[in-house]
Symmetry: none
Subunit: 201 residues, 4 copies
DNA sequence: TATGAATGAGTATTCATTCAT
DNA sequence: CATGAATGAATACTCATTCAT
């Protein structure tokens, strides 16, 4: 692929990322993608088989970037607690930085088995990255714990996407909160005794 | 509204619930909804303004049912820990019982502000129900905690939806796991010491 | 099917007959068919699955009409020679009457197996009708003879389709010529002896 | 035109002949033609103005070859009957030898006046070749007779194209049958008297 | 109320053709 | 001469919605 080709390939992915991201799969027109990429409609089809293929490619690039960055950051960080904080920060800031374009990324074509399979794979890889961290601490149910942590983070991210007044500082607070809650549990954030809590749960 | 009308209204909602639930908004046809409801295509429009309106109504009924049931269960339960367990059980079993039809419910029309607003409202009401419970324990950041708990539960529910071998027993385990992790934190599930954990976090 | 439906069905077939007939399959647009039939584009699809289906239906109606008329005329006619003349007249006048619309009917979608099969069936039925006549005369190779006769007629019809000055009288002459040539052979139309003709052939 | 050019010109014609022949005009892509000819897409346009021009050239080469071969064979043959047999054999074997590639040759672009004109010209030249033979026998309606003979042959050729089990021997039989029927007429193939045949027709 | 025939706006995709290299 | 990346016109088909009955 020539450098011009690569440039066009990237331009299409970028355009599609923004449009799929804000309008979703069904409400994004291939002609819009072409226009935003600064090329002709037919040209899109020289690089991607069809609309679903383009959506897959956009998703793939995004997910791979997410995981690669995460792994780099985890390698560079130390203690267990530090790593859990890194995960939280990565998750929240990743979306914070892309809030313009990922608002509605979760609007995907509904019955595309390939996409469903890929998303499952992504989720699994993400989870395994977290599991690996947890195992260092000797967690007994690392997969469930990893899923729980990811779920927490994913929900905490929603406000970031939809609340335009969210500041970087706010994201930092949320990051610390998430790691702390996950590690210490609700009990650590409460004044009242939890005397009725079954011990060891 | 006559009783015949109510019956038809309900039949349409039921049909739409199943179809939207398994195929998503865009891949569900109004004609299919009518057919499954046992009425004529035009009749759907006597009860719902248009496809989005129908989707809204389906969503609303589902969310309201979810919240009402939750509130009933919370009133009937005692301690803080008990209530947190009730929330987890409700969230997971709700989807467990509807796994046939909610698989893809999260595929919604992408740019409908009314729907977005409603979902935000639902999330807020759900969160407030959890907040109310947490406040009994004197939580300091009850909203963030509530969101985190809901996020955990939502991710833990995904396997239930997509893994057909999931048994009722498995759901029970997950329920206990979720409540326990949320209350006691990761530290309680780990063998290794978390000596590097900043105290009080 | 209501009478209005039948009317529309027929109107579409008529419109398609004329357009396919003069422009061929590929150069006829469904929107033109609809317009000429006086209905909306979408309505065509209520009556015919797609463009190929419509083409098939048009072809079928035309071929069936051709054969039915032929059979009626054959029943009403007497001697072997008379029947052969009836066949010739039917073939030539059928196209003479439709010269406006069948000029290019032989431009069909190229790779439609169903259509190919149907045309083979039609040709076979046509041939069998001729074979039946020939068998009354004790022909020894009736199928090849039938095909030959049909081939003659089909070529003799071409001028009718493409020559606008062709009169009904001309068609009559051609009819007589065809029957006579087929029955008596070239030898009957020649002054010179055909002494070198293998005897008995 | 250099020899390399001639080679490319021929390669394109060969490729187009096979593809148009088996897929028809509309379902053959210029890119396929180029690929099969072993050249780039754009190069085709250095040799042929456009797709229709290429189709014309392919048709022309085929028709000219058909006529030239026929004329050569006719010069080499003797009696009237012999010449008629030569015509039949030529027509049938020509397609027999090309059955792979001419199955669908008759699927031409529908509204190309130049092509229509050329085909008329070809038909006329073919007819004149036959007429010339028939005039040696003093035929009174040589053109109609020629057309009829060609029509017969054309129909008799169809089975050859579509029936893969057709042997060379079968083609021979058909050749003899055609010439014999044309010369002697149906009456020669029948047991029954044709007493009602108008004398001299 | 209920129907369902009719509508027509809306869009992904193809492919002949061009032209800068 | 040769290339092949880029173009964009052109069209079948779908399906939400309407409205005469």
């Amino acid at each position: 692929m020539s450098s011009a080709s690569i440039h066009k390939h990237t331009a299409i992915l970028d355009a599609a990322y923004e449009l799929f991201g804000s309008g979703g799969f069904y409400e994004t027109k291939m002609s819009e993608v072409a226009e935003r990429a600064g090329i002709a409609k037919g040209t899109v089809y020289l690089y991607f088989k069809n609309k679903e293929d383009l959506f897959m490619a956009v998703t793939r690039r995004d997910c791979e970037g997410f995981l690669q960055q995460l792994e780099g950051k985890l390698r560079a960080s130390g203690s267990l607690t530090g790593k859990l904080s890194v995960i939280a920060a990565h998750h929240l800031f990743y979306y914070y930085e892309r809030k313009q374009h990922t608002k509605l990324f979760f609007r995907a074509p509904n019955n595309n088995p390939e996409l469903v399979a890929y998303m499952a794979l992504f989720m699994d890889e993400y989870m395994q990255a977290v599991v690996k961290v947890l195992l260092e601490g000797g967690a007994s149910e690392p997969e469930l714990m990893a899923k729980s942590y990811i779920g927490m983070l994913d929900r905490l991210k929603m406000d970031i996407l939809f609340d335009p007044s969210f500041s970087e500082e706010d994201v930092h607070k949320r990051t610390k909160f998430a790691a702390s809650l996950f590690i210490g549990g609700a009990v650590a954030n409460m004044n009242a005794s939890l005397g009725d809590l079954p011990a060891g749960q």
